[in-house]
């Protein structure tokens, strides 16, 4: 065990590095997520925030570092050992990832049917409760293809809630939704926060949504954490990248002429040497 204290931190990430092949995406990230808090992981496109989320749920293996979840270091667990931990987590995917060949109700029932010994009648009741919580009571027998984008996301949340998880992960909950539906999803997350003592990790690039739902912010930029703290601390951050993100300043086209020259000729030089 580390002295990061498994009792208070639901998730504790220590010096995490993740690579796809040769390319390192996360360059040594360290942060804690306290139990029962909602944390927004912010960052621009390609910052590594999705990779961070995928590593937390065990879809990617770190090249080095530690990921402590509920007092267990998951960095070196086998897929089957990881499954024991995954049963205590729920994940809502960006594209909802509902199983297209099953009805919404069957989607929510699936983890219960496979992982528990509950009677079918009990499962049916639980499915209705979960669907009710996300406001989809009447849609149990619909196929995912018959639902709108926002409803699919709600159904995905219901499925993630099925096993009564301790930690809930959201990948871009409001991406691709109109502002009204997106606000509805924010409210759903807030309601879940009130109803359960869930730890929630929300990856997003929607500032307004993040400020509404999160207790803490983690800002990831080019594989590093550049800001970390409460909303107020985050707003007060002096880091130029955070300021740029908060003030919506576009990336300058060319930073330096030498860099530009390097970019134009870089490949050839590398090939020669």
């Amino acid at each position: 065990m580390t002295d990061t204290g498994a009792s208070e931190a639901a998730i504790s990430v220590v010096n995490l590095r993740v690579s796809y092949g040769e390319r390192e995406i996360l360059h040594g990230i360290t942060f804690d997520i306290p139990r029962g808090e909602t944390v927004a992981i912010l960052g621009g496109s390609g910052s590594g925030k999705s990779t961070l989320l995928r590593t937390l749920v065990g879809l990617e293996k770190p090249t080095s570092g530690e990921v402590w979840i509920g007092g267990v270091n998951t960095a070196n667990l086998s897929e089957r050992q990881m499954d024991a931990i995954r049963k205590r987590m729920g994940m809502s995917f960006q594209g909802s990832a509902l199983f297209g060949s099953m009805t919404v109700g069957e989607n929510v029932a699936l983890p219960l049917r496979e992982h528990t010994d509950l009677e079918d009648s009990t499962i049916e009741i639980m499915v209705r409760i979960k669907l009710g919580q996300v406001g989809l009571s009447a849609f149990e027998d619909f196929m995912p293809s018959e639902l709108s984008g926002g409803m699919k996301k709600r159904a995905a949340v219901a499925r993630a809630l099925a096993m009564d998880p301790e930690i809930l992960f959201f990948d871009e909950p409001s991406a691709g939704l109109d502002p009204i539906i997106a606000a509805g999803l924010d409210e759903l997350i807030l309601n879940l926060k009130k109803a359960y003592s869930l730890t929630m990790v929300v990856v997003t690039h929607e500032l307004a949504s993040a400020f509404l739902i999160a207790d803490r912010m983690v800002y990831v930029d080019r594989g590093h954490i550049v800001a970390l703290g409460t909303k107020e601390e985050f707003l007060a951050s002096k880091h130029p990248r955070v300021r740029q993100f908060l003030d919506r300043v576009p990336e300058p086209e060319v930073t330096e002429e030498l860099d530009y020259l390097q970019m134009l000729t870089g490949d050839r030089k590398n090939a020669k040497s």
């Binding site: 065990g58 995917f93 509902l98 199983f99 297209g100």
Partner: protein, 272 residues
Amino acid sequence: MKILERVEAIPRAVGALTINSFAYIGGLASLAGQSAYVTFVGPFRGQRFRPQRALDQAMAVGVEAIAIVSLITFFVGLIMALQSAYVLRRLGAMQLVAGTVAVSILRELGPLLTAIVVIGRSGSAFAAEIGTKKVTEEVDALRTMAFDPVAFLVAPKFLAMLVMMPCLTIWADFMGVVGGSVFGVTGAGFTLGSYFQATRDAIVVRDIYTGLIKSVLFGLVITAVGCKEGFSTGAGAEEVGRSTTSAVVTSIALVIVVDLVFTTLFYLINPT
């Protein structure tokens, strides 16, 4: 200098190709191994076994293929009868048509044609199904819900194919012989009864079981390749198309290779 570099590159390319091929075969074997484990060992270690998914697959792979398999093997049986009659007529041995058709269908064409049809219907469907699930993050969703994607998606397909391929092949064999009998009765002076009697006299049990052994192996190859190509799908819709195409092409090539290897093996074990 440049020529030397190019010459040097040849063994390197051959080496890389060899290693990649072995890695690919290894990947296929690993999928089959994991599926065998969850199907035959898992249930004895307290893991749940759901026959329903395998039954659904068996319906799609086997039962729904009966019509097209019947049609194709019926015509090929008829074609085989016509083609062999072309030679046999000159030898004055038209009574051998029944035996020629039966042996070529049972030993070779029945299993092979069935495999080709199943590749087109199911091998491609496996790759497209798993590929789409990969693109829509459903495979990731399975993993985060603590399901093994291989147990969930691949094992039922293997089980269904293992059972349905020999069944389809037996049916294909029968339809091929029926196709041959159409020519036998109309063009070679057989009655329906005497044609089937001649077929029975011409074949031995070995003709049937070597064909069935091959069909089981074809089934394993088709499932493994289809699923592996599905899982290797990258991001985007074009990728699904790519993996479907490569599932079909690779399956056909590997089925022919397996066919050659095992036909040679059967010949060497017992040439008579």
